[in-house]
């Protein structure tokens, strides 16, 4: 059984159909990449998976660990193991990063019937993971994402992923706004989280990210449909020929 099974998924946003029949299966332990031009529906797919309001499924199904994902609320999906790394992480003044992280970890533990972590053991847990991702103590003390650089925001997203240990991580344009050095740190962080139990869905516009996070499968999304699926070489091919040629030949 696949970890994630999407069948003939149609999604409307503000009355306009964006996803027009997506079929996608991801097995645990695999990294899938979705590439596509702007407006192809990449972000819509990631928001639909996380349950964001305003993304209306008109037909099709999403099974996660064999369970109907669409019946779960946003936070229930997270507790079940779905994680979305945001393209533009939200700044929340007045909530420190540390408070946010602890609240999230404990909320998920509680939802799964596990005991909450006390402040001291959580601090040890965070410090260890934060060091690996070069997230400084100062970044932990500051209000969530406020005044963080693009790279710091993305590192903080990966830190959340490391702490929450999801079974499915959706990375939405994680490379956007990153310079080469930041891209390296973030990719190393993601690679360290590759695990036989965990699947990843890497959404990106550019091939560049896939040099660092090497996928098992690459899909090309255009106009709300997956028009081509292949191995990691498909990304290289796209880099050479561009999306246009592929879209035309698929049409």
């Amino acid at each position: 059984m696949s970890l994630l099974e999407i069948k003939d998924l149609h999604v409307e946003v503000s009355g306009k159909e964006i996803l027009k029949g997506i079929n996608l299966e991801i097995e645990a332990g695999k990294v899938h990449a979705i590439m596509g031009p702007n407006g192809s529906g990449k972000s819509t797919l990631s928001y639909t998976l996380s349950g964001r309001e305003g993304y209306n499924i008109t037909s099709g199904s999403i099974l996660f660990k064999g369970q109907d994902l669409t019946e779960l609320s946003i936070d229930e999906r997270a507790a079940a193991g779905v994680f979305l790394a945001f393209q533009y992480p939200i700044e929340i003044p007045g909530v420190t990063n540390m408070t946010f992280l602890r609240t999230a970890v404990n909320a998920q533990r509680k939802a799964r019937g596990e005991g909450e972590m006390d402040a001291a053991s959580f601090l040890r847990f965070v410090r260890e993971k934060a060091a690996e991702l070069k997230v400084s103590d100062d970044m932990l003390k500051r209000p969530l994402n406020v005044g963080f650089s693009g790279g710091e925001k993305k590192r903080n997203e990966i830190l959340q992923m490391a702490l929450l240990e999801p079974s499915l991580a959706v990375l939405d344009e994680t490379d956007s706004g990153l310079d080469i050095d930041a891209l390296k740190v973030v990719s190393e962080g993601v690679n360290a989280l590759r695990d036989p139990e965990r699947a990843m869905l890497v959404i990106t516009h550019y091939q560049r990210l896939l040099d660092h996070i090497v996928p098992d499968v690459v899909h090309v999304l255009a106009n709300g449909r997956i028009i081509k699926t292949g191995g990691k070489d498909l990304a290289l091919e796209l880099e050479k020929s561009g999306y246009e040629g592929l879209i035309e030949s698929a049409a």
Binding site: S50, G51, R52, E53, S73, I74, D75, R77, A78, A79, F83, L84, F86, P89, I90, I92, P93, G94, V95, T99, F100, T103, A104, A107, Q108, A111, P143, Q160, L164
Partner: protein, 438 residues
């Protein structure tokens, strides 16, 4: 004078005032009360035609006696501050019922009656003499009803480290007024921290009306906080009038959490060079609750500063009002004034009226004001929930962040921490949907 134009409650009051027995043997005080009565009978309860009562219609309120079904808002026990470092004073229905047997050197806490008997000279100097005190029907009524109150004095140079905690507990009969007048007087270079907590157990329509006359002498520092936590059938109007002298600091922080119609008035006169006032507060309202924050800060001497920071969250049909005025007199050069109010509306039917006002007669001043009214940020809510934080908890976290700016700068840690705890409870109530969840 005819009483016919008075509303029901006022005519009741008028006859009550006319037949009130003489409780004290002081001609001076009797005169002051009589003057209050006459002024009240002329002025009546403030109505909406008076500009600074435009948004809070207490005249109609008291005539109609309309209020929500009783809801036991945070019991007395819940709101009690437990800390070894505080000096606990209990006031039951306006009467002083408990006070520490030993107070630190330099501070005295007495009743108004006490001071009248032993130190009338003090009262003559400070009672009703505050230059920041407004002249309206409510103050007149308070003078007419003068009987109960506390007098807190700190000797010059007296530094009181422990926080004074005054718990005011009221359980008055239906449709009655709990009226009090306090004096807080800090001698030169002294300092004290006072928190007053208003709680009630009544489910009766009533009015808590308290007027405090505050005098902060040269170089002294007063940190004053008020936690308004009465049940939702209790109306609450308090007026703080403060005279702040040269180099002195007056900080006032208030939480309005409960009550029916609530009005928090703070009037400050910055009388000496380098005087500073800092006013902040948080109001959290639901149902049909109404909360009015009215502040007037007058910069009278040069080089004075004031800072105002208020945050409100309004759910269901709650209504919030902020009227803030900073006045700068002609010779109050180098005045620095800042005033900010932000409100969060959790429902389409909630309402916020903000009226910041600057009246400046000097030409070398820095004054700024701002007001925002908005709703919870859905993006932020989605972000938190996508990390597994359930909706109610996520909303509570965002609201907590929203109000935190009005709390974080208040100096006294005990007061700040208790404020945080109180707010947490109410925010969860609001996140779950206010009264409608029941």
């Amino acid at each position: 004078m005819s009483n016919t134009q008075l509303s029901y409650s006022e005519s009741q009051l008028a006859s009550h005032l006319n037949t009130q027995p003489k409780v004290v043997d002081s001609e001076w005080l009797a005169e002051l009360k009589e003057k209050g009565r006459d002024n009240f009978l002329t002025r009546g309860f403030p109505d909406r035609r008076q500009e600074n009562w435009k948004y809070t219609d207490i005249r109609t309120k008291f005539r109609d006696n309309s209020f929500d079904a009783p809801y036991d808002n945070g019991s007395r026990e819940k709101s009690r501050i437990v800390d070894e470092d505080i000096l606990r004073v209990v006031v039951q229905d306006g009467k002083l019922t408990s006070i520490p047997s030993e107070l630190p050197k330099g501070i005295a806490i007495r009743t108004l009656e006490d001071v009248l008997q032993n130190d009338e000279f003090f009262l003559r100097r400070y009672l009703g003499e505050n230059r920041a005190l407004p002249k309206d029907g409510m103050i007149s009524l308070n003078s007419a009803l003068l009987q109960k109150g506390l007098v807190v004095t700190v000797e010059p140079g007296g530094i009181i480290d422990q926080t004074i905690y005054i718990e005011r507990f009221s359980n008055v009969p239906w449709n009655s007024i709990e009226s009090g007048r306090d004096i807080i007087q800090l001698g030169e270079r002294s300092s004290v921290k006072i928190v007053e907590v208003f709680v009630s157990s009544v489910s009766q329509f009533s009015l808590t009306h308290n007027v405090s006359e505050v005098y902060v002498e040269k170089g002294a520092t007063l940190e004053h906080a008020k936690f308004q936590l009465e049940g939702n059938t209790v109306n609450h109007i308090t007026t703080i009038a403060a005279e702040v002298s040269e180099g002195a600091t007056f900080k006032n922080f208030e939480i309005s959490n409960g009550g029916d119609t609530v009005r928090n008035e703070t009037y400050v006169n910055l009388l000496g060079e380098g005087a500073h006032a800092s006013l902040s507060g948080v109001f959290l309202k639901a149902g049909k609750e109404h909360c009015d924050t009215t502040t007037v800060v007058n910069h009278i001497a040069p080089d004075c500063t004031c800072n105002e920071e208020f945050r409100g969250i309004l759910a269901e049909r709650a209504r919030g009002v902020f009227q803030g005025k900073i006045g700068v007199a002609k010779n109050a050069q180098k005045s620095d004034g800042r005033m900010m109010t932000r409100a969060l509306l959790l429902s389409d039917r909630a309402e916020m009226d903000a009226k910041p006002e600057l009246e400046i007669y000097a030409d070398d001043v820095k004054c700024a004001h701002g007001a925002t009214i908005g709703s919870l940020d859905n993006e932020a809510l989605f972000y938190l929930r996508s990390r597994g934080i359930p909706e109610v908890q996520a909303k509570t976290l965002l609201m907590r962040a929203f109000v935190s700016e009005a709390i974080q700068d208040f100096g006294d840690e005990i007061i700040r921490e208790s404020a945080n705890q109180l707010i947490e409870q109410k925010l969860e109530f609001l996140s779950r949907g206010g009264y409608e969840q029941f």
